[in-house]
């Protein structure tokens, strides 16, 4: 109990003093995760919609694979991305290892299946609802995906937020491909891991509270933004 209070105190102190290191790693956390989120959403949402409307031979298998991909431990993804981006790996010449870009790539791989899977499930219901109408109106496949993504945007927002939650709290993969380099690739989660390994639990916990606060603020902000976008009830 004492340590939790210490952690809250540490978090409070870090926040009120606007600790420059804290600001830096918080902004980097946001930069990496939001970038990964945008890229993943651009891939996963249309893919989820496509999967919802398309009937093909191995569709069930594809969905099973997608759901399985959600369960891959991030550390494995990190190792995989490391091997690809290592100087001795196939994409070594790009020099991306130990940069925020490498962390973004790892996070995209981790959260794209998650977002696509949730998107697929909610759009499948919407598609069942719209199916006859959209066939009757003789829509093209592109128009169907566009319509589903637009009309299902609330559910898709939830899918994206789930991806955000997973990415912002992820530590295993970005530790491996980012390296937790001070002033270069250190983010909230890797900083927490570092402080824990140093036995500085109160600072680690303080950073943890900052992370939780950040996740909550982003969720609330996005919900608030979409609420004001339209007073509708969709």
């Amino acid at each position: 109990m004492g340590e939790i209070l210490e952690g809250l105190k540490a978090a409070f102190l870090l926040l009120v003093t606007l600790d420059s290191d804290l600001v830096e790693i918080t902004l980097r956390s946001l930069q990496v995760t939001l970038s990964a989120l945008v890229i993943s959403s651009l891939i996963a949402l249309p893919f989820g919609a496509w999967l919802a409307i398309r009937r093909f031979r191995h569709r069930r298998l594809a969905i099973a694979v997608l759901n399985a991909l959600m369960g891959i431990p991030p550390v494995v993804v990190g190792l995989f991305v490391y091997l690809l981006l290592s100087r001795s790996g196939p994409f070594g010449v790009l020099g991306l290892l130990y940069t925020p870009s490498a962390m973004i790539i790892a996070q995209v791989i981790i959260i794209t299946p998650l977002i696509a899977s949730i998107a697929h499930q909610s759009l499948r219901e919407l598609w069942a609802e719209y199916h006859d109408l959209l066939i009757s109106l003789n829509t093209t496949r592109h128009q169907r995906i566009k319509t589903l993504v637009w009309d299902g945007r609330r559910a898709l927002l939830t899918a994206s937020l789930a991806g955000f939650g997973r990415a912002i709290g992820e530590v295993g993969a970005i530790m491996i491909v980012g390296g937790n380099i001070d002033h270069a690739t250190r983010v909230l989660t890797t900083a927490i891991a570092l402080e824990t390994s140093k036995g500085d639990f109160s600072l680690a916990l303080g950073l943890g509270f900052v992370l939780i606060g950040l996740a909550i603020s982003v969720n609330v902000a996005i919900h608030w933004l979409t609420r004001t976008e339209r007073e509708g009830r969709w």
Partner: protein, 267 residues
């Protein structure tokens, strides 16, 4: 939405260029936990213009990163592995810089009586004889290798150990956290121990046997193997590390009034 896309593109673009003065150095957890880096890096930046980016990993991973060419140099403490690294053509050479020492940590009550031991071997013997809990790094790090070598020197076979011997497969800090949680013994480098924040119930029980000295060496990655490495920067850093200024900083670094490292590079 557009803003997010732009920021994503921007962040990818902005992250790509690697500035010329950056130097990537893989170091061991124990070195980083000592806090010495926080003293040395600003001076290095001032004197040489090098922005040293530290990758804090275990010795095994540090050597792997060097072999893969993902860092420009490594600073580790595992002589056999270092020599193999140079022999394999991955490192240009091995330059000894400084040493610190390992210590035995255990519960304040010291049920195995390690505090009364005369040597490292005697300490380990009494832990084994009492079947007292012992937490091992178990992660193939330099510290782990050293610990296994010490058990062997004391005449024991690790394969025969019962479940009082617990390999956690974690870094030094996590291992000390585990020792604190279980009330167990552990071997730590002195620096990690002194900087460790969660000492509750633990105490330094034995140190000083020359067998426990821990030699750090600097190994620049061979540019003939990986043409992209910053060999020039690695050379500059090496020159600085063996300089008189470095000697003064290393020998003068103290935690709670204790000197941690002893400079022993030959110029």
């Amino acid at each position: 939405m557009k803003h997010l896309v732009l920021s994503a593109v921007f962040s990818i673009c902005s992250a790509v260029p690697i500035l010329a003065e950056d130097l990537r150095l893989a170091v061991t957890t124990s070195f980083h936990n000592s806090g010495l880096a926080d003293v040395l890096l600003p001076e290095i930046a001032k004197d040489t213009g090098l922005n040293v980016q530290l990758l804090v990993v275990g010795t095994g991973q540090a050597i792997h990163l060097g072999e893969a060419g993902d860092v420009d140099a490594i600073l580790v403490h595992s002589q056999k592995a270092e020599e193999a690294f140079v022999d394999g053509g991955f490192g240009r050479h091995r330059r000894e810089i400084m040493y610190n020492d390992f210590v035995f940590i255990g519960p304040v009550e010291d049920p195995a009586g390690v505090g009364n031991a005369e040597s490292a071997a005697e300490s380990l013997s009494s832990i084994k004889a009492n079947q007292a809990l012992f937490v091992s790094r178990g992660d193939e790090s330099g510290t782990h290798k050293k610990e296994r070598a010490l058990w062997q020197l004391a005449g024991f076979d690790l394969e025969q150990f019962g479940d009082w011997y617990r390999a956690v497969g974690a870094g030094m800090g996590a291992t000390l956290n585990a020792a604190a949680g279980m009330g167990a013994y552990a071997m730590s480098d002195r620096a990690s121990w002194l900087n460790f924040g969660n000492k509750e119930g633990l105490a330094l029980l034995f140190s000083g046997d020359p067998l426990l000295f821990n030699q750090y060496a600097y190994l620049p990655v061979n540019p003939e193997r990986h043409s992209h490495v910053n060999a020039e920067g690695a050379q500059k850093l090496e020159e600085w590390l063996v300089s008189e200024e470095a000697e003064a900083l290393i020998d003068g670094y103290q935690i709670n009034g204790e000197q941690l490292f002893t400079f022993n590079a030959t110029r």
